[in-house]
Symmetry: C2
Subunit: 349 residues, 2 copies
Amino acid sequence: MPETARRTDRHSATRYGNRPTMKDVAARAGVGLKTVSRVVNGEPGVTPETEQRVQEAIDALGFRRNDSARVLRKGRTASIGLVLEDLADPFYGPLSRAVEEVARAHGALLINGSSAEDAEREQELGLALCARRVDGLVVIPAGDDHRYLEPEIRAGVATVFVDRPAGRIDADCVLSDNYGGARTGVAHLIAHGHRRIGFIGDMPRIHTAAERLRGYRAAMEDAGISVADAWMSLGVTVPERVRTAAEEMLSGPEPVTAIFTGNNRVTVTVIRVLAEHSRQVALVGFDDIELADLLRPGLTVVAQDSAALGRTAAERLFRRLDGILAGPERLELPTRLIARGSGELPPAD
Amino acid sequence: MPETARRTDRHSATRYGNRPTMKDVAARAGVGLKTVSRVVNGEPGVTPETEQRVQEAIDALGFRRNDSARVLRKGRTASIGLVLEDLADPFYGPLSRAVEEVARAHGALLINGSSAEDAEREQELGLALCARRVDGLVVIPAGDDHRYLEPEIRAGVATVFVDRPAGRIDADCVLSDNYGGARTGVAHLIAHGHRRIGFIGDMPRIHTAAERLRGYRAAMEDAGISVADAWMSLGVTVPERVRTAAEEMLSGPEPVTAIFTGNNRVTVTVIRVLAEHSRQVALVGFDDIELADLLRPGLTVVAQDSAALGRTAAERLFRRLDGILAGPERLELPTRLIARGSGELPPAD
DNA sequence: TAGAGCCTGGACAACGTTGTCACGAGCGGG
DNA sequence: CCCGCTCGTGACAACGTTGTCCAGGCTCTA
């Protein structure tokens, strides 16, 4: 049997373990290859006796269909990719989970990767997923140039951007109402008597940060308050920088009486600063935080629904895969102000 | 050109979009198929001029190698699977991220899925990943019978269980020291003068819950305290049940003066109950919680390092793939007691 | 200048699956 | 009794890639 021997050798050389194939099952059951395929896929046209023989062979050999081969033949992989910033961030966990649930409902698997807020890594990941021939891609942009995805989109990879818009290409995106949310949050502070309000946010090149700043400015303008430069601080959201920014706003001759924070990482740091601070300072944060209601005072936030973002994006992706949609569109989801105490504190002076 | 026409028809019928293949690139560049392959994979033996011609064709056509086909040919998929309970749970986010980082360091992609704490869904997911021919599998068990993975493991799928041990099969697993951690946490309460200490945990069929209960009992026994049945409550960790359990322990003629909570979901609910409660009750929770230091009093916890769990498991998986390891092993990672105030409160009476 | 050896490039088979098609058996109706 | 039909089954090609192997052209040396 040189044929068999050769085959075994090859296997033990290049793989680890010999997975049985349909050919093996067919040989054992004494039927043709296609008949096994029919049984495995539940296609009609097989007598019960034949089916049983095949099934027994499958069980005996521990056969499992190789989906890689199937995909190669069929074209669709029944999997979608998700590129996000950091799975460990509590904002993205629910988002990822929501995408997964929608994928599951459509019989698809989710492959996800973290870009670590690095544009190059985002691209690397997105393209790796395309090489795996995912049917669609949900991207939370880290970079601001997504032309690298153009050939993929043209080739039929349904692509939806979430949380931040796509850069330099025209594509579907699902965003929160960052501008409106920030505006509402700041207006809430103004309504409680504050006029000197600080804003601490992320780097302005990040779309969400820019939009939230725009909302802050709009709310201040609505109230006829002119904004001092010292009240605004934009930059990386590492604790050290945020801490310094907060302390500067709170000192000096005309300190702010309230702070609006641009995302959850900033909010947490500012809470720590305020806890060490003697004077009461009002605080409204963008993004909800677990246990926000257990703090004293409770934390008032502008909450975005990250699960809804994920769900909406994934649903749009599958509708696009089904060929129902026309041109790219931008969807905006509302935010919600949740008053818990910290945003309702009156000005201290 | 009937050949070309037919090919195009086929494509637009069964796929969406015509991805160019190496054949197309080869035709455009006027070289052979294998030469394109060599360029794409950076193999030696191609003159710079030829390479440039090929590269131009690749760019012009927007070609991207089809990894499905590659995998079929090569045997390894350079991807690993992760089956966990719920990505939205803050305990699993960092774990997943840690696994991803290790995978990335080994040039592999991570595919993950949530079992939603459902044994059937765990099996479905695990087998789907095997059908995709992942090289390895990290499983956080939901069910307690993993014999369904036996054929896969025999076939060479490196498998590591995390957080909870595998059921009814012999396999690698990486666990936290649940017993020791709980014992230390409860001993901490005893050291601060408590004798009537409650325990609220998850369903006892879950391994971690059983181990933590065992730790509780051991610490109590060490101190010569006999445990009343009313002090222990095991069951689903939905807020309603936990709330009821806590309130029962805190009422009656001999209420507990301290509570040890069996996981983060329980802890959060108990904090809420205690906040509404007049008498001071000490609390130590298993699992750390974000912002635990900002509560008043700060929350004392027995922290497990979920990222380390993931990292350790993934590293073991890749070492197994490299064929370095012998038999299955059980690794146990230490926990760490973090005192922040709530666990150091003295008994109220 | 001829022969040896090297380097580049291409033809071909194989990976495991599925779609197409054809074949043979059984059967009912003309 | 034969034609045509249905039904179960299997042979074969194709999906896009990579490993093997061979051919042809080049350089270098004797």
